[in-house]
């Protein structure tokens, strides 16, 4: 390895390696400096990028502050580095700038195409699927002609976005935003409510439901779907969630491909409501009182902060929702008593009843 050595030290000086580099030589340089396989740094950077985003910032910082192998100084010289003022002059710096600009352009192109793919898959699934077939055919063709190779990564991003939306069964038709409905009588209750992206809340607490089962269909593509039900009504929930959380009064579940169906047998004469809910990515909540927004409103993805990103104990699925009390379904299970009181105390389980009664039917 031709990495230069620091004076009086056996460890090679930290430089961005020219050999074995994938992007800017950061990981191969770190690997040479610490005498470990660069793949470990690559995994760490990708992991940090996915789970907190800091991996990208850290990579860029090292890229700009650490000199390239064979070059005396870094692209950006900090005051304690000694020489400030003549930055971005060497050909290595210009090369790095060009490479960074190209990488940024590819990333932006990938993000835009992924968004376009997600939207297309959520609104015109058939068209999106054929578009992926076309992208695949074009990539196969480019393997022989060696043209348009730069469009391969954006094309793959498009295909992956379409596949994710299709696998989650996300339906983005129905608009975007925060929609709130509060019908005042049974005749005002629609048979179905739908939203593409955002927060959909249907407040049925002012409705006097009859003993015969009333069916309600609610659909949401991405976001948070809340159905507020009156106490004293037996609520049966059927839910299909591509990825996210479902909580219906005392019962809850989270993960991917959650397919949940309850079939309670209430005492005769009990008013019944059957909620048939479908959420692509996000949460479905059935509660007997208003719940705090996990989605955080449409004003800026505040829910992301509350969800705490993808990982950690406040991670996406476990998060906020498992701690939220949604109420009890004592009209269906009168013997259980009030939610969070006697039954929970007797079973010794948490007062929110998180795992007290497993959902019937298939989950996952």
């Amino acid at each position: 390895m031709s990495t230069p050595e620091s004076e009086g030290s056996r460890r090679p000086r930290l430089v961005r390696s020219r050999r074995g580099r994938l992007i800017g030589g950061v990981c191969s340089g770190l690997g040479a400096h610490f005498s470990v396989d660069p793949i470990l740094f690559r995994i760490a950077f990708v992991g940090l990028a996915i789970f907190s985003g800091i991996g990208i910032a850290l990579y860029l910082a090292i890229l700009l502050l650490v000199p390239e192998e064979g070059v005396s100084r870094a692209p950006i010289c900090l005051p304690w580095h000694g020489s400030v003022g003549d930055q971005w002059h060497t050909s290595a710096d210009r090369r790095l700038l060009r490479r960074l600009a190209l990488a940024m352009a590819v990333v932006v192109c990938m993000a835009l195409l992924a968004l376009a793919g997600a939207w297309l898959a959520g609104t015109h699934a058939q068209l999106a699927a054929w578009a992926v077939v076309t992208v695949g055919a074009v990539i196969v063709l480019s393997a022989f002609t060696r043209t348009i190779r730069r469009l391969v990564l954006p094309g793959v991003a498009f295909a992956l976005a379409v596949a994710t939306i299709a696998a989650a069964h996300v339906d983005l038709r129905g608009g975007v935003g925060d929609h709130f409905y509060r019908p005042q009588s049974l005749s005002e209750v629609r048979s179905g409510y739908r939203l593409g992206v955002g927060r959909l809340e249907v407040d049925l607490r002012g409705i006097a439901f009859p003993a015969a089962a009333t069916r309600l269909h609610v659909r949401l593509g991405v976001g948070e779907l809340v159905v507020l039900v009156p106490r004293g009504v037996c609520v049966a929930t059927s839910a299909r969630i591509g990825g996210g959380f479902v909580g219906a009064l005392e019962r809850r579940s989270a993960g991917l491909d959650v397919n949940w169906s309850e079939r309670p047998s209430p005492p005769p004469g009990t008013p019944r409501l059957v909620v048939d809910g479908s959420v692509g990515l996000g949460a479905l909540l059935v509660a007997d009182h208003p719940v705090e927004h996990g989605w955080g409103g449409w004003g800026g993805w505040g829910g992301w902060g509350r969800w705490g990103g993808w990982g950690g104990e406040n991670g996406w699925f476990a998060s906020h929702y498992h701690r939220v009390a949604l109420g009890g379904n004592e009209a269906c299970f009168p013997a259980h008593g009030t939610s969070g009181s006697s039954a929970d105390a007797a079973s010794g389980l948490p007062s929110n009843g998180a795992s007290r009664i497993p959902a019937e039917g298939a989950s996952r």
């Binding site: 898959a121 699934a125 058939q126 999106a128 699927a129 054929w130 578009a131 992926v132 077939v133 076309t134 992208v135 695949g136 055919a137 074009v138 990539i139 196969v140 063709l141 480019s142 393997a143 022989f144 060696r146 190779r149 391969v152 094309g155 793959v156 295909a159 992956l160 379409v162 596949a163 994710t164 299709a166 696998a167 989650a168 591509g242 990825g243 991917l256 491909d257 996952r364």
Partner: protein
């Protein structure tokens, strides 16, 4: 002499093509795609692309 196709691009293209066909079948209601089936397919495809890329660069190194 006839040029050899780029194996990495070819593998990548075939993987995307297969994914597209699955998506067409899903959109038509013939199959029901879910994360449980899609995720392993995608990870397997990415593995095949990486493998093809690694083998191709190895061959170039020898050549």
């Amino acid at each position: 002499m006839r040029r050899q196709p780029n194996i990495t691009l070819l593998t990548c293209g075939v993987a995307v093509l297969v994914l597209g066909v699955l998506l067409v079948l899903n959109a038509g209601g013939t199959i029901d795609l879910r994360f449980a089936y899609t995720a392993p397919v995608i990870v397997g495809a990415l593995g095949a692309i990486l493998l093809a890329g690694g083998l191709a660069s190895r061959r170039r190194g020898r050549g």
